[in-house]
Symmetry: C2
Subunit: 231 residues, 2 copies
DNA sequence: GGGGTCATGTAATAGGTTACATGATTCT
DNA sequence: AGAATCATGTAACCTATTACATGACCCC
């Protein structure tokens, strides 16, 4: 059983809007955009209507009225219920207090990194570092502007956090690219050699079957680590 | 149009296995688990079979044979195609070189943080910091063990990265909790006051309509920042 | 020899994303 | 007056997750 009846974080954003006053879905979406929440919570129209339906079905919000403005489509206005307020508080508390296992795309990439030759990987990481610098600069310029307008950091907090994460990522990526380029990192030679062998038509399977033959003593690191090497 | 025909990162992991040799889906899943890829790429059975079907439909892998071992269910063995190899390399290169916009749950939480009173938020963040410390310790112990076995950092790289991110998160969270607790952070007083008013039954809408009345001069920060304040 | 767990997968359902629809307003 | 954009939503499709199924092996 999934923890929450409605699991999409967009639902939490919807609740937060309705906590202020009743709105119809389109208005919710524009409100979220105005306040830049869509930078932190994925928003798209299709999902929004799904989520609103689902919240209503579970009694966390309630359709209030259906109005019509001229010949525009009908708009259904929703209000939050007591159950919805409770869910909002509980959910937000959970988000803040409990780290979730997140799967980032870089982590996925790193875990399969040996699938490309080291020189190429280092170059790709350099490119990433460049893009990270750009993004960090963009965000910091934005913060400076906002502060100049007299806005407190509290209103930028999620973006400040994002910059911190991006900075940590940048340091990591830049260091790693350097270590691979320079070849000083242990294991890079073996990695390089594996790609040379594959280019010569030796299959990965063969190499794994007898790594020491193909890779020399260094290849021993590819053997299953569980065997207690006697002596 | 979605960038890739098959978008789930699990598909990339599948391709990486088949690059080594043909396998059937269950074997792919055990291989990924053995190598701890499931720490970095979300794996579950249902998705695996979806993804394999989809890869086959798009010609990135090919069913080779259907064998049967005693009375066990039939197993279909798949091999990677040339198109699949190309896709693997291109996709992996993209993952490494191009930061994707990721939506983390903490960022979502931070962006709605004012929905709970400051003291509670600070306490929740303290709890998070504790959990982060535990997780970091757990991972570092694991790394130490792996290195003692003679494993290179290259084989731990995705986990080392994860520790870096968790550490950055921890620093941020601990600092923020401290600043909120101490009340030194600008804006915390207003935030606190808003919750007191709400507890007295004043709606968010009313406060926003006349923030200076309810919150004093500090409330001016809640007014839309775009108005050029004459003078 | 019965209860768990491994091996292997199928089916049903729920959730999310893309594409489409349609009248109103505004711009040139 | 035609093009673009806003306002508002519906429907179809695709993906992913959960639940279920079923025989084999292993342990006590």
């Amino acid at each position: 059983m999934t923890r929450r009846r409605v699991a999409n974080p967009l639902a939490l954003a919807v609740l937060s809007c309705l906590l202020e006053r009743p709105m119809h879905p389109y208005e919710i979406s524009t409100t979220l955009k105005e306040r830049n929440k869509e930078q932190s919570i994925k928003l798209n129209y299709g999902s929004l209507y799904s989520v609103v339906d689902s919240l209503a079905k579970h009694g966390l919000i309630q359709a209030q009225e259906t109005s019509r403005d001229g010949r525009r489509p009908e708009r259904t206005v929703y209000a939050i219920t007591e159950a919805g307020q409770a869910e909002f508080e509980d959910w937000l508390a959970e988000l803040l207090s409990t780290p979730a296992k997140e799967f980032t795309s870089l982590e996925a990439g790193l875990s399969l990194m040996p699938g490309l030759p080291p020189a190429q990987v280092a170059t790709l990481l350099d490119a990433r570092a460049g893009r990270l610098r750009e993004e960090i600069n963009r965000l910091e310029a934005m913060h400076a502007g906002a502060r100049a307008q007299g806005l407190h950091d509290l209103f930028l907090i999620e973006s400040v956090y994002r910059v911190r994460l991006l900075t940590a990522e940048l340091e990591f990526v830049a260091d790693l690219a350097r270590d691979i380029h320079s070849g000083t990192m242990p294991g890079v030679q073996v990695w390089q050699r594996m790609h040379e062998l594959r280019a010569q038509g030796v299959s990965v399977e063969e190499i794994f079957a007898d790594p020491v033959r193909y890779l020399g003593e260094e290849g021993r690191a590819l053997l299953p680590p569980d065997q207690p090497s006697a002596g």
